[in-house]
């Protein structure tokens, strides 16, 4: 999907500095037409600033941004074929839901009848046709989120920017909206640029994602690439959880002191001194801590030299009682060798 068509958004060495703070620092990115692209990172990592640069609310200190192949340098937000779903929804409190959704059409002097029809269609799309005459203040958080989405889609933008749109919703609603957003994106075939700090969300929805750290992009790739082959220790740790293995232990387990990582779910807990298959790696340790999480259990296993590895196991036959009884038990940890991966420096 990526790279085949001309990029709809292109960052070329873009920086945005606020005084001495490098909010965005020399970022180069291509976002392909029609893809679901996520910008993932902790707060303050520059992802929202990048979104604002695309929308035109802010301008880069240096570097160039191309929108649909054209330099966006001198384009104000109202001249860009890009619409935004704001983190706080930014619905106009003095207008009805329908007026909010139709706002972009009213600005373009679309006749009233057509405005109503298209606003109705959009509310239909987000499954909220019944609230058209209400005020935003009378809606729940989830409903406001949908109205904000309908309003941003009504102009049929080629790129839709979403700034942590699900951040304020509870878990169940968030998961449902993830599925709906993805479905809407596929149905309308427009590019979504999705800012989130929730790695699970980014993995679940994206065609590709960029992982931001301190204003820079650590890695760009498909969810599988980023998860399976993290480019930096930061990516390994931020996307999912990961065990970072360095120094003497790395030398013992991987044969070289270069840092490497292994995912908690790739590690098996077997009985102490159990035989290990030829291609597998193994290390002995003691279970120090057990967190029972319903569907799975997280163990913290001390493997000597003060190093603790996190291991996650599905509770297929394990009960809470079994899990907690394992505390303090000496065990052997085993894994298929290809799951222990070296990570790039930085």
């Amino acid at each position: 999907m990526a790279g085949e068509r001309a990029p709809v958004v292109r960052f070329i060495g873009v920086s945005r500095h606020f005084g001495s703070l490098r909010a965005v620092d020399d970022v180069s990115l291509d976002i392909a037409d029609g893809e679901f692209f996520s910008m993932l990172g902790p707060s303050g990592s520059g992802k929202t600033t990048c979104l604002r640069l695309i929308a035109g609310f802010d301008r880069p200190t240096s570097g160039r941004i191309l929108l649909h192949g054209l330099d966006a340098e001198r384009l104000p937000p109202f001249e860009r074929d890009v619409n935004t779903v704001f983190q706080d929804y930014a619905l106009f409190p003095h207008m009805t839901v329908e007026e909010n959704v139709a706002y972009g059409l009213a600005i373009r002097n679309v006749p009233r009848a057509e405005r109503r029809r298209r606003a109705g269609e959009m509310l239909e799309l987000v499954r909220l046709p019944e609230v058209a005459s209400r005020r935003p203040g009378q809606l729940s958080g989830g409903q406001r989120q949908r109205v904000a989405l309908a309003r941003a889609l009504v102009n049929r933008p080629r790129v839709l920017l979403l700034d942590e749109p699900l951040g304020a919703l509870d878990l169940k609603l968030r998961q449902q909206m993830q599925i709906e957003l993805k479905a809407i994106q596929e149905r309308l075939a427009i590019t979504f640029v999705y800012v989130t700090h929730d790695q699970e969300e980014a993995l679940a929805m994206s065609d590709r994602l960029a992982v931001f750290r301190e204003g820079r992009v650590d890695q760009v790739g498909t969810p599988a690439e980023v998860y399976e082959r993290p480019a930096t220790p930061f990516v390994a740790d931020f996307v999912g959880t990961s065990n970072l293995i360095e120094g003497r232990l790395a030398e013992r387990l991987a044969g070289s002191p270069a840092p490497c990582t292994i995912r908690p779910e790739k590690i098996r807990i077997v009985a102490a001194a159990a035989p290990v298959a030829g291609g597998d790696g193994a290390v002995d340790g003691t279970i120090r801590d057990v967190v029972y999480l319903g569907s799975h259990t997280r163990y913290r296993v001390e493997v000597g030299e003060g190093v603790v590895l996190v291991v996650v196991e599905l509770n297929r036959a394990t009960t809470a009682v079994d899990a907690h009884a394992a505390r303090g038990r000496p065990v052997r940890l085993a894994w298929a060798r290809e799951h222990l991966r070296p990570v790039g420096g930085r």
């Binding site: 609310f57 935004t84 704001f86 619905l91 106009f92 600005i107």
Partner: protein, 308 residues
Amino acid sequence: MRSTRRSPGRAAATFLFLRPRLALGLLLAPPLAWLGAVYLGSLASLVVQSFFHLDGFTGQVIRKFTFATWRDLMTPANFDIALRTATMAAAVTVAAALLAFPLAYYMARYASPAVKAVLMVGVLLPLWSSYLVRVYSWKLILAKEGVFAWFVGQAGLTWLLERVLALPVIGGPSLSVSSLGTFLAFLYVWLPYMILPIEAALQRVPRSLVEASADLGARPAQTFRRVTLPLALPGVIAGSIFTFSLTLGDFVVPSVLGNSSLFIGQAVLAHQGTAGNIPLAAAFTVIPMAIMGAYLLFARRLGAFDAL
């Protein structure tokens, strides 16, 4: 378990915590008593007084219900006074809103905290000095040989000032004895009361609303008309209530800077103080109240309070 600690203060706090209605009642009683008895009571007495009548021979107020005072009020001369005052109040209000909005917008949106503090002090500073002193300084500034005329002369625009002063209604022998001068002084003394509520209203409009409007294709002028202004309107209305009613009731500025034509405030003062005709003064005072009431209804019809 802290039940062992039992000070009287804690006991009272617990007592009130368990009786929220009583607590609310205790908090609201003083302001409601003030508003009810002192404020509404005196307004009601004012309206009642306007239906009494002054006996022209004895100079006594006759406390019997009559429309005689209202009939006295309905003279062309008094109508002129009411119209002159209301027109001045409207002009001052519109001008104050036009002057205040850009400054309030800058303070609410762009000014850094330090700059904003300086501007805020700048807006409020005049209120720290005596109102009378400030009005009399305008008299000096606008006088024929005053600073303003000197500046106009230096700029070679004396002919323009004379042309303006020659205009009917707003002009006069000099700025200090003209409707235009009265207008300028009113605008100066009431401007802070317009800036502050507009600034407060704009402060509450999130920046993201303005961005969302631009994002959806609105040019700045469209965003202002469709988003910023409607949301700031309650502040503009609040400010206009101040400037409008303060102008309606003032008697100092027109007596210091005006010509011989009276404003409502001066008429009230003359009737009540000099002539002792309290019923007529009361009836005159009802006029600004009626105008304000009509204005607020009109503002509500416009949807000024929809965003509240």
